[in-house]
């Protein structure tokens, strides 16, 4: 449920690093908690985001939530397929359900993110509450 090659945030985003680019999505736990996702408000390509700032809005059958930028940089690609098929976030959170690709401005920020093991422990704690 939590691939080893990804990095994770406390707010349930995942990051896949390839060179200077970081692909961002939401974790299995996040989509499971949200339930069926029915709408996504995506950011524009080309804008700069800061770590921790709002990246996208999510509407699910249960609730509304936000995705926060796990890392600072410029948004170079946006998964616009989610506009018509928000269910990709539920069905394939680590694959076709990716949200944006960020060109990182400070790779040292990656050090603050969690490993799969650390994230799993974080989720277990949150689910137990």
């Amino acid at each position: 449920m939590y691939p080893k090659d990804l990095k994770y945030t406390e707010k349930h985003e995942w990051v896949r690093v390839e060179g200077n680019e970081a692909t961002v999505g939401i974790t299995y736990f996040a989509q499971d908690q949200l339930g069926a996702i029915v709408g996504v408000g995506l950011p524009d390509e080309g804008i700069d985001v800061e770590k921790g700032s709002e990246l996208a809005d999510l509407d699910s059958m249960k609730t509304a939530d936000q995705i926060f930028a796990p890392i600072s940089g410029r948004i170079v690609r946006v998964n616009t397929a989610l506009d018509a098929q928000p269910e990709l976030l539920n069905d394939d959170p680590y694959g076709d359900g990716w949200v944006v690709v960020i060109e990182m401005s400070d790779v040292s920020e990656l050090d603050d993110l969690m490993s799969a093991e650390e994230y799993e422990a974080h989720v277990a704690k949150e689910a137990g509450e």
């Binding site: 069926a36 059958m61 249960k62 509304a64």
Partner: protein, 486 residues
């Protein structure tokens, strides 16, 4: 048991009206409307006979559920019984057959009612002057925030004050209204008792704060005892205090927002003062303000000059009109009828009974459902289904199962700060027998969650239609009927 849409019942040439013969010279629309304003083809409206029309809508109404039929504990919405005397009063010809373009001399009674109603709303909230224009609660919020903005601008602080603080237990419309008014929304967390966390509040307070919006009691149904201290913290930084009055039913006649330090509030007249709103309106989101904000109220303001009532448009600092004409007058009449038929004593009893009923149901249910904030509640409370989730039964399933037992479901998955939330507001008008029947239904569902979870996961079983595919409806909506291909 689907039934055809009225469009599917349409047959060319049928009609449900008969007009008298024309007794004036016939005029074509082309005589009075320019080409660009005329439609190219007739609208495809259903054509149906009177009896079929009546049967269609009667059948639909039989499938409806309203507070006149049964218990409707929809938290945050105050679905109290609407006394029928309100309808009698609103149907009086002097209220019902007037037109907003009539001159003031011919509508003195209506203006008097608006004036007196505004005075009552000020008395109940501890405020100075009211506006009845806003058409619903969120509209009242926006109007109140526009007044706050105009006030800061009048002092040369419009540019500086850019933030509105909203607790995470506020009504969902609060951040939306603030954002719509051009403010940046800053959220503050709740403490472990469900109130505003004062340390978190102090952290975000600075001289760029325009206002704090508080719903008190909040969406957990909990009264924030620190309201006065919260008001002081915000006032000391030059910000104003906005009171979301959606939950006034819990405090009416007991404590006044004006006395707590709030500067502006809105009412939901259709909730607290019993105008029907199950179909989404019409509503009345009247606002009331302290004296220093009165110059900014929307125009016109109903004023009393000697023994006459006038509509005063001459308020140079006004934010302007926020609705066509004067607001939803019919809702004002019902709210006024409610206030005056109960009187001050009666209103106080409304709040006391609403709070007692909610605490009764909460106390009975907390043995069976998790109660995340276990303390006395006000007019509503929030439980969650975390115990039932262990058996695979979620809040949505419980809500559907209640329909089978002839109850309207409570508000679900809100507030967002409680996972799997159910927000239950019994209101003051329900008898102990009705409350007990609801409690029994909830206990039965809690037992079924353990013994037969699949029954709940597939509920409802006895309604006109069964479990609807609401996910597909949200993802791939079909918002309008289209004729079948010929």
């Amino acid at each position: 048991m689907s039934m055809p849409l009225i469009f599917e019942k349409s047959r060319p040439g049928r009609k449900a009206y008969s007009l008298p013969e024309l007794d004036v010279p016939k005029k074509e629309t082309s005589d009075s409307l320019p080409e660009w304003a005329r439609r190219k083809q007739d609208p495809s409206l259903p054509e149906i006979s009177e009896v079929d029309l009546i049967r269609h809508f009667t059948e639909l109404s039989r499938r409806n559920f309203g507070v006149d039929q049964g218990f409707y504990p929809l938290g945050s919405c105050t679905m109290k019984y609407n006394p029928k005397i309100n309808e009698d009063v609103a149907a009086l010809p002097g209220f019902n057959n007037i037109h907003p373009y009539q001159p003031e001399e011919l509508v003195q009674g209506a203006l008097e009612l608006m004036y007196e109603f505004g005075r009552d709303l000020c008395e109940i909230s501890g405020m100075h002057e009211a506006s009845l224009q806003p058409a619903a609660g969120a509209h009242g919020e926006l109007t109140g925030l526009m007044i706050i903005k105009a006030y800061h601008e009048s002092r040369g602080e419009g540019e500086k004050r850019t933030k509105v603080i909203v607790p995470d237990s506020a009504h969902g419309t609060n951040p939306a209204s603030a954002a719509f008014c051009g403010y940046r929304v800053v959220e503050v967390k709740s403490d472990e008792r469900g109130g505003v966390d004062l340390d978190s509040l102090r952290e975000v307070i600075s001289d760029d704060v325009a206002a704090l919006m508080l719903t008190n009691p909040n969406t957990l149904g909990l009264f924030d005892e620190n309201a006065v201290e919260i008001a002081e913290i915000v006032h000391n930084a030059g910000g104003l205090l906005y009171y979301d009055g959606a939950n006034m039913n819990a405090i009416v006649g007991i404590v006044r927002p004006g006395d707590m330090g709030f500067d502006v509030l809105h009412y939901n007249v259709h909730k607290t003062f019993s105008a029907p709103h199950g179909g989404g309106g019409p509503g009345c989101g009247a606002i009331a303000v302290k004296e220093f904000l009165a110059p900014f109220l929307p125009v016109p303001v109903v004023e009393k000059q000697g023994d006459r009532y006038v509509l005063n448009y001459n308020r140079p600092q006004s934010i302007g009109m926020v609705k066509g004409f004067y607001g939803n007058f019919n809702v004002m009449v019902k709210g006024f009828a409610y206030i005056r038929s109960l009187g001050a004593e009666g209103l106080r009893k409304v709040a006391e009974t609403a709070v007692l009923n909610a605490n009764y149901v909460m106390t009975k249910l907390k043995e069976y459902y998790n109660l995340p904030y276990d303390r006395f509640c006000k007019h509503e409370f929030v439980i969650d289904s975390s115990r039932q989730v262990k058996h695979g039964v979620h809040t949505g399933d419980i809500a559907k199962a209640l329909l089978d037992l002839a109850f309207h479901a409570p508000t679900i998955y809100f507030p967002l700060i409680v996972r799997e939330a159910m927000m239950i507001e019994p209101t003051e008008t329900e008898s102990k027998e009705t409350l007990d029947a609801f409690i029994e239904a909830m206990i039965k569902i809690a037992e079924l969650a353990e013994t037969s979870p699949e029954t709940l996961q597939t509920a409802p079983h006895h309604t006109v239609v069964g479990r609807l595919d609401d996910v597909t409806a949200a993802r791939k909506p079909i918002p309008r009927w289209t004729p079948p291909e010929e």
